[in-house]
């Protein structure tokens, strides 16, 4: 059967199980759009190509499958760069398809020509230029294979316009991937494995550091069995949240820069760290010279390049988290850490007393109130998509996730503007799920044009803007480390409720604590998208905090004195 390259592309995507494509048309990708119109694929028209990549990323993270984004050459492709880098840093399987000028004029600085494979080389797992229609099907199958195998990541396929227009014989069976033959490393080193088992069975103060890799591997059950077998307390990275139920007594919560104090203290006092599917990011470890000094370390990780990168470990078990955990669990003999677990409970100590939730209601509204109420009202069952900044950390602290893939957030790259488009992608992946965007007033203004996408696609998500009139996290750093010189952080925003109305979306503004629960209930009852502008305290900070580069033991705690109340009545 003879098809054009563009038709082969659409047919291949369909056969690869794709239903939705997030994209934006343009000259160099027009043949594909013409073929798209004749296919069963659903194209979601975004308002900016960055949005398309975040949507594909949100789709991938919510579903565990592959998200697909599409754009034209030149500026369409370069607008994707931030989204691709976001997916790369968080190991998210996204396939980006870009149009390219005709192969005959490649390299001639043609209109809207840009070397997008050159640009994206360090931020993709792999990328490739296709110049022939007969290579389209095989290349796409390879792209999908690469994106979601091993440690997942984004793959970019750049297709010249003549490859889209030319005809070629379409034969799916004959277009099987032909990737280069790789060395298969024997990762099962028995001596290393035995050493890990010995450490597990002799540890007195063990603690697990649970990361995103557990979800990527689909290892939740194996992980739970491992935790139960050894009765191990579990600390989580930001992206690890959801891999183990928050309501389990062994789940301590998040570690790191804004981790709970008792979690960081437990890590510093532990005699064994069991790191699973995490990469010892600097936001997790703080100063490496003082990090978990008395602990031996086991690292379970699929990516060899992560071993000994930041933290030197005593046993490295390279492999898929589920396989490694399943092999380890039967060897666990010791599970008596009751003294240690009781000690961690004592470390919790006064933390609850300082908590905003425990303070008498002054009528003033804090972000923590909003997020904690949202957690209670949704019973922790919603998919929450956050942006980057203070609200992101408060979400991690005050919304307790019991199920995997229910917190979607940009961890590694910390991309502001991620939340709204990623939530749209998540909603397409899980149309039956309740999806909430939790976003700051700064990040929301970066990609708020995607409100139009929501309206055009008639989807139902809820948007909670945590509006403090500042680029809050940067303001917090200026407060702590730059003597309160708030340079370029006070932020004028539009009336978000009125803005929502202009898009045809219901918009509300909330200023008092007592109004939070009623508006959340009202929004949940609505079958349409609702945007809520929560006007919270302006100069509240996220506690505890480990300053960048400081020791994990050296935390800035919430002051005991009454809170600064800085909200301005609108």
């Amino acid at each position: 059967m003879k098809l054009t390259g563009a038709e082969i592309l659409c047919e291949s995507l369909t056969r690869l199980g794709v239903r939705e494509i997030f994209g934006y048309p343009g000259g160099a990708i027009l043949p594909v759009y013409d073929a798209l119109g004749k296919s069963k694929l659903h194209h979601i028209l975004v308002r900016h190509e960055q949005g398309a990549t975040h949507m594909a990323d949100g789709y991938a993270r919510a579903s565990g499958g592959i998200g697909v984004a599409m754009a034209t050459s030149g500026p369409g492709a370069t607008n994707m760069v931030t989204g691709i880098a976001t997916a790369m840093m968080d190991s998210s399987p996204v396939v980006c398809i870009t149009g390219q000028v005709s192969s005959k004029v490649l390299g001639s600085d043609a209109f809207q020509e840009i070397d997008i494979t050159g640009i994206t080389m360090p931020i993709t797992k792999h990328n490739v230029v296709v110049t022939k229609a007969e290579d389209v099907a095989r290349t796409l199958r390879e792209a999908f294979l690469i994106a979601n195998s091993g440690r997942p990541g984004p793959v970019l396929v750049d297709i010249t316009k003549d490859a889209q227009q030319a005809s070629a014989e379409f034969n799916w069976e004959a277009s099987a991937p032909k990737l280069p033959p790789k060395r298969v490393r024997n990762n099962h080193d028995q001596a290393e494995f035995d050493r890990a088992v010995e450490m597990l069975n002799t540890a007195k103060r063990p603690i697990i550091l649970a990361g995103h890799g557990i979800m990527v591997s689909g290892a939740m059950r194996a992980f739970e069995q491992f935790v139960r077998a050894g009765n191990y307390p579990v600390a989580m990275t930001l992206l690890g949240i959801g891999c183990f139920p928050a309501n389990d007594p062994l789940n301590l919560g998040m570690m790191g820069m804004h981790g709970e104090a008792w979690v960081n203290n437990a890590i510093q006092e532990a005699d064994l760290l069991i790191a699973v599917g995490m990469r010892f990011d600097d936001r997790v470890t703080g100063d490496l010279r003082t990090y978990a000094k008395s602990a031996r370390k086991i690292h379970i990780e699929i990516d060899r390049a992560e071993i000994n990168k930041n933290v030197k470990v005593d046993a490295a078990l390279v492999g898929d988290a589920r396989e490694v955990l399943e092999r380890l669990t039967p060897h666990i003999e010791t599970r008596e850490h009751t003294g240690w677990i009781r000690h961690i409970a004592e470390l919790k100590g006064d933390s609850a007393v300082r908590d905003i939730q425990s303070l008498p209601d002054s009528g003033h509204l804090y972000a923590a109130h909003v997020i904690n109420d949202l957690w209670k009202e949704t019973r922790g069952e919603a998919i929450i998509v956050t942006d980057v900044g203070q609200h992101q950390m408060w979400e991690a602290q005050y919304y307790h996730h019991n199920r995997p893939r229910t917190l979607i957030t940009s961890g590694g790259l910390g991309t502001m503007g991620f939340a709204l488009p990623a939530a749209i992608g998540a909603k397409f992946a899980k149309p039956e799920s309740e999806v909430w965007v939790v976003v700051g007033d700064g990040g929301f203004q970066m990609t708020m044009s995607e409100l139009a996408t929501i309206v055009q696609e008639k989807i139902n998500i809820k948007i909670a803007i945590i509006n403090n009139g500042y680029l809050g996290m940067v303001r917090q750093w200026q407060e702590f480390f730059y003597d309160k010189r708030y340079v370029a952080t006070p932020l004028v925003a539009p009336d978000f409720a009125a803005l929502a109305n202009a898009f045809g979306i219901r918009g509300e503004r909330i200023t008092k604590r007592a109004e939070v629960v009623p508006i959340i209930r009202s929004a949940r009852e609505s079958a349409e998208t609702v945007l809520i502008d929560f006007r919270v305290e302006q100069e509240d900070s996220v506690y505890p905090m480990v300053a960048a580069g400081a020791s994990l033991s050296d935390m800035i705690r919430r002051p005991n004195n009454p809170l600064v109340e800085t909200a301005t009545e609108p």
Binding site: G17, P122, A147, N148, A176, K182, D303, A305, I307
Partner: protein, 178 residues
């Protein structure tokens, strides 16, 4: 200094991926040589990098993550044969020519081009040997030099061969959604 050997796909852009990776990891490459192997689809690289053992591990493991890299291995601590080749154009007149020929003989180098005012000397061997010859040639006036950079091979039965899995079958399975 660390020495790595990599087998890579012999196609455009692969050298760029390899060198770009080293740049991203902030590892300075001292020399990088590429050449074909007996399999025309595969090229072999010898990479000499300014880094420590930990950096070399990171480079090795990161290289192997590249789709086009079939195998990468840090061979720094193994028994190695290392060769560098240089062409050195040195000025030579009637008076000093005999003295030059003497030195060339001692270093087991060869004269491959003779001109009235200069000679081109070809020398191969270890980096130290070539550096040594260079040192004694300098007083005569080195006009031009081209060096290949190091190629390395592990000695004896310590084989480092590219994987030869069929391109058609085992990995030819589509990604399954997890």
């Amino acid at each position: 200094m660390q020495t790595l050997v990599a087998y890579v796909e012999n196609k455009p852009g692969v050298l760029n991926r390899v060198s770009s990776l080293a740049r991203r990891l902030a590892i300075n490459i001292d020399s990088l040589t590429v050449g074909p192997t007996e399999n025309e689809e595969v090229a072999r690289m010898t990479i000499v990098a300014h880094t420590d053992e930990r950096g070399a591990h990171r480079l090795e493991a990161s290289l192997e993550k590249l789709v086009d890299v079939l195998l990468a291995e840090n061979i720094s601590t193994r028994a190695l044969l290392e060769r560098d080749l240089a062409l050195i154009k040195v000025s030579a007149d009637q008076q000093n020519r005999p003295h030059l020929m003497e030195l060339i003989k001692v270093f087991r180098a060869r004269v491959v081009d003779v001109a009235p005012e200069s000679l081109i000397i070809e020398v191969s061997g270890t980096v130290d040997k070539i550096d040594g010859l260079l040192e004694v040639l300098r007083p005569f006036g080195v006009l031009e030099m081209a060096r290949t950079g190091r190629i390395s091979m592990t000695r004896g039965g310590d084989l480092l061969q590219p994987p030869t899995v069929s391109r058609e079958s085992p990995e030819a399975v589509d990604a399954k959604s997890k």
